[in-house]
């Protein structure tokens, strides 16, 4: 039945594909839909994961190895010991933090793919605080470094947001290009003011010990970052589904016309969701340098941004589901080395699995979109 007057509206935000007869407005959020059909989405995500494991078994078989043994090694490598679990949780933490921010952005139809650069800036800022705040006690220094890291990430995202709002440079382009700038900035400070003199590798001096994130379980590498990530996920979940601000984001995910009609400022919405995502990614960068490396290292954020996007999509852009999706990626990558060591299957196979998972998730998405259109 008739739902809209056909008229040539100025298409401002890019993913409206009304010309092709697809539903106008929000393709992404419309496909991901509501919280309500949670179980169906969970089933779809699990199906995508299982299928990707099955398909990834093919190259393993071709190379003459047993995929079941390889996956067993993978699983043991990921969860076989307290140390490996601690390692995997640490690995998941920045993914979860950055992923939940990306999920919020995508929900509001803001295609922020700049988590990588935002993580880099968060890392730089937190490192600067850690290196220069040696006089402060840990209870002060760590929160301060995390906070400043978050602010730096938010600031980096704000640049892209301002370019988008003031100059019409699409946020995909802005955030993508700022990623490269962010990575180069890390190199720049490491070769200059923050570099460790005499080190063979571009890295900063080791942080003073009171700047290290305290361990969660004594005797392991597990630091408190995972708690921060879980708290962030739950806060984002509450904000998204249970506050007026979250309702605004969901409206922005529809059409700009509907959002404006509902009294929601598109400019403010876009700006604030970018700041939030930037702050989360910046925090992730801070956690990574303060909790894992204890120093700033060149290229410490490489690949995180795109994993964050993949995790957000695997989670159906549902903030709470980012938690299992992020853990999945973290554990997968942790097990990869064991698989390579024990079975001789290259660890890069997990990237194939990650990629395939995305392909299957997007397939499921396409199918549900098709159904919806009918």
């Amino acid at each position: 039945m008739s739902t809209s007057l056909p008229k040539d509206k100025e298409v401002d935000r890019s993913d409206q594909v009304d010309q092709l007869g697809a539903p106008t407005g929000s393709v992404l959020p419309a496909a991901f839909g509501r919280n309500a059909d949670f179980w169906r989405r969970t089933a779809l995500a699990s199906l995508a994961v299982s299928l990707s494991f099955m398909v990834a078994a093919i190259p393993i078989i071709v190379s003459g190895k047993n995929p079941l043994l390889a996956y067993w090694a993978l699983a043991r490598g990921a969860c076989g010991s307290v140390d490996s679990i601690a390692f995997a949780l640490n690995k998941s933490t920045p993914y979860i933090l950055a992923g939940v921010g990306v999920a919020l952005c995508f929900r509001a139809r803001v295609i922020n793919i700049g988590a990588e650069g935002q993580i880099a800036l968060g890392g730089i800022a937190a490192s600067w605080i850690a290196l220069n705040g040696a006089a402060l006690p840990g209870q002060l220094l760590i929160p301060l470094a995390l906070l400043v890291g978050g602010c730096a990430g938010a600031g980096w995202a704000a640049i892209a947001a301002v370019m988008r709002l003031a100059r019409g440079v699409h946020e995909v382009l802005g955030t993508l290009l700022l990623n490269f700038v962010g990575l180069l900035l890390v190199s720049e400070v490491l070769h200059g003011p923050m570099g460790e003199v005499g080190a063979g590798f571009p890295q900063s001096p080791l942080f003073p010990e009171q700047a290290w994130l305290p361990p969660l379980v004594p005797g392991t590498d597990l630091h408190i970052g995972i708690i921060l990530a879980i708290v962030a996920v739950f806060i984002c979940h509450l904000v998204f589904w249970h506050t007026p601000f979250g309702f605004r984001l969901r409206l922005l995910g529809s059409t700009d016309a509907a959002a404006t009609y509902a009294g929601v400022s598109v400019v403010r919405g876009l700006f604030s969701v970018m700041l939030i995502a930037g702050a989360l990614a910046g925090g992730a960068g801070a956690v990574e340098v303060l909790g894992v490396h204890y120093r700033l290292i060149q290229g410490f954020s490489v690949g995180f941004g795109f994993n964050a996007v993949a995790i957000a999509l695997l989670a159906s852009l549902n903030p709470i589901a980012v938690l299992p999706a992020g853990l999945f990626f973290g554990f997968l990558e942790t097990g990869a080395l064991a698989m390579q060591r024990e079975i001789g299957v290259p660890s890069s196979l997990v990237f194939v699995i990650q990629g395939l998972t995305m392909v299957f998730v997007l397939c499921a998405l396409g199918i549900s979109l098709r159904r919806q259109r009918m």
């Binding site: 039945m1 008739s2 809209s4 056909p6 007869g21 509501r34 529809s254 509902a262």
Partner: protein, 518 residues
């Protein structure tokens, strides 16, 4: 236009037969035991209100929806579990209400799109020639090289028709094809349809406009609540009979406009002008006043600045000149939510992308413009209980049919969707209501409902600015009546002094004799 006597030998060989089609969506029976048969060379009108099951039935036929039960036989072959692609291959063509065209491509490119017979290496010239041929045969006057975005609406529809014909459609389904056309375009389309039928093809014509049914259909089938409630050759049908079958009751004469003295001025608009970013003056010196308890109805052909006017008044755009005052408060530069708080409700023209968020639920759409105020907002939280409570109240008050407030709005029929918008905007008991094409695309029953609600608001003392391109509606509703033409508001007069000829002339653009009145 006339309908020809039926050649009997054609009737005996139906091209399409559908038996016992059943389709349920949750608790709602969209189709229940529907039989339909269409013979070659015939035009069958499928009549029914929004939500009566017409669209579902056609989606079943075209393979877009799987029926729960039923058989489809087309040209002697059973069609089951088919996709739209297979339906096209079998010879069924569907012209959707919303066109499936790529605006940035030419006519010939659109027709070649996804068509295997256009060749692996595109045979653009041959296809263009075929288009010229077909369009000559049926009097379509299509230029294959024209860009779709340059075509007027009626011509885009013709592209769809040619597309279906070239793909070998012997049965054409036209889903409310006339709802967006101007009167001359409508008569052109009807003539084309008759020519198509004369060539031995069959047409299913979905509509709720009775006049068109009588103009060209050979027979008519009426659906209501998912069942066939009447079918007859057109010669045996009467207008009032069909109308009553469609709505299932006598169409009431509607709410009575009570004579009431108009109250004080509520909305005052002075010298309003709007220039768009390309420098085009879209609104010229609009002056109007609205008093309590009156409806100012504005007629006009679409695209004469009506949308700009309502968007400026509702706060979606800011005017370049002039002022808007509500109850003595200058609202010219205030936000949408300020205007809402001041008592200004707005029913936009476009419920698909502005008035509603199709993916959200009924309760969320009912709270779409109030989520940031109590009772829906409590502190920093949304009160989901209040959403539910308000929605239930409004659904029963405004008769919104759905299994639960949790239903996504996109699953509702057009009429029910508009009821959601009306319930939200009139349900807030506004001082001023601005309604733009509030009955667009609605069937008679739903149209009646919207109009009754608007009159009831006016009788309670609300002020209404009602904009419509349906002159009948404007004349029925307006206490004062004006015309928009080329971004100007012209000839506002009390209903007692209306001169229909003058309004017609003004709408057609010969406004020189009419003075601009506040």
């Amino acid at each position: 236009m006339s309908h020809d006597a039926t050649p009997p030998e054609i009737v005996s060989l139906p091209m399409l037969e559908m038996y016992g089609i059943n389709k349920r969506y949750g608790a709602i029976r969209a189709n229940e035991g529907i039989d339909l048969s269409v013979a070659a060379g015939r035009i069958v009108g499928l009549l029914g209100e929004n939500g009566s099951g017409k669209s579902t039935l056609m989606k079943v036929l075209f393979g877009m929806v799987k029926p729960d039960a039923g058989t489809i036989r087309f040209k002697g072959e059973i069609l089951s579990d088919h996709t739209p692609r297979e339906a096209i291959r079998a010879g069924i063509g569907m012209i959707h209400q919303h066109f499936m065209l790529v605006n940035a491509m030419t006519v010939v490119e659109n027709i070649m799109l996804g068509w295997s017979r256009a060749g692996t290496w595109l045979r653009t010239e041959q296809v263009a020639e075929q288009i010229r041929q077909t369009s000559k045969t049926y009097g379509l006057e299509l230029d294959p090289g024209a860009l779709v975005s340059d075509l007027p609406f009626g011509h885009r529809q013709r592209v769809e028709i040619v597309k279906a014909l070239l793909r070998g459609a012997e049965l054409l389904i036209l889903d409310e094809p006339t709802s967006n056309l101007s009167p001359p375009e409508i008569s052109g389309l009807l003539a084309v349809m008759q020519r198509i039928a004369k060539q031995g093809r069959a047409i299913i014509f979905i509509t709720h406009k009775l006049g068109e049914v009588f103009d060209i259909c050979n027979e008519v089938v009426v659906l209501r609540d998912g069942r066939v409630v009447g079918r007859s050759p057109i010669a045996n049908a009467t207008r009032s009979g069909l109308a009553n079958m469609m709505v299932g009751r006598e169409v009431s004469s509607g709410l009575i406009r009570i004579d009431r003295p108009t109250g004080p001025e509520v909305l005052v608009v002075r010298d309003l002008g709007l220039r768009d970013s390309s420098g085009y003056q879209r609104l010229h010196d609009i002056n109007l006043t609205l008093r309590e308890g009156e409806i100012l109805a504005i007629a006009g052909v679409d695209g004469n600045g009506q949308t700009d006017l309502v968007e400026v008044l509702a706060g979606l755009k800011f005017p370049t000149t002039g002022t808007i005052t509500l109850n003595g408060r200058n609202l010219t530069r205030t936000t949408v939510s300020d205007r809402l708080t001041a008592g200004l409700a707005y029913i936009p023209v476009d419920r698909g992308t502005t008035g509603l968020v199709p993916g959200m639920t009924i309760e969320e759409n009912l709270g779409l413009r109030d989520f940031n105020r109590p009772p829906l907002r409590r502190g920093v939280r949304l009160d989901h209980g209040s959403f539910r409570k308000e929605a239930k109240a409004k659904m029963s008050e405004f008769g919104i049919l759905a299994s639960s407030p949790d239903t996504p709005v996109q699953t509702l029929s057009g009429g029910n969707q508009q009821k959601v918008v009306v319930a939200r905007e009139i349900g807030r008991k506004p001082r001023v209501l601005i309604a733009c094409q509030a009955t667009w695309g609605l069937d008679p029953g739903a149209t009646r409902f919207v109009i009754d609600q608007v009159i009831a608001l006016r009788n309670r003392g609300g002020a209404v600015l009602y904009i419509s391109s349906e002159l009948d509606e404007v004349l029925m509703l307006g206490d004062r009546i004006g015309v928009m033409s080329n971004g100007r508001l012209l000839g506002v007069v009390p209903r007692t002094e209306v001169d229909i000829t003058q309004i017609g002339l003004t709408m057609a653009g010969s406004s020189s004799e009419v003075s601009t009145l506040p």
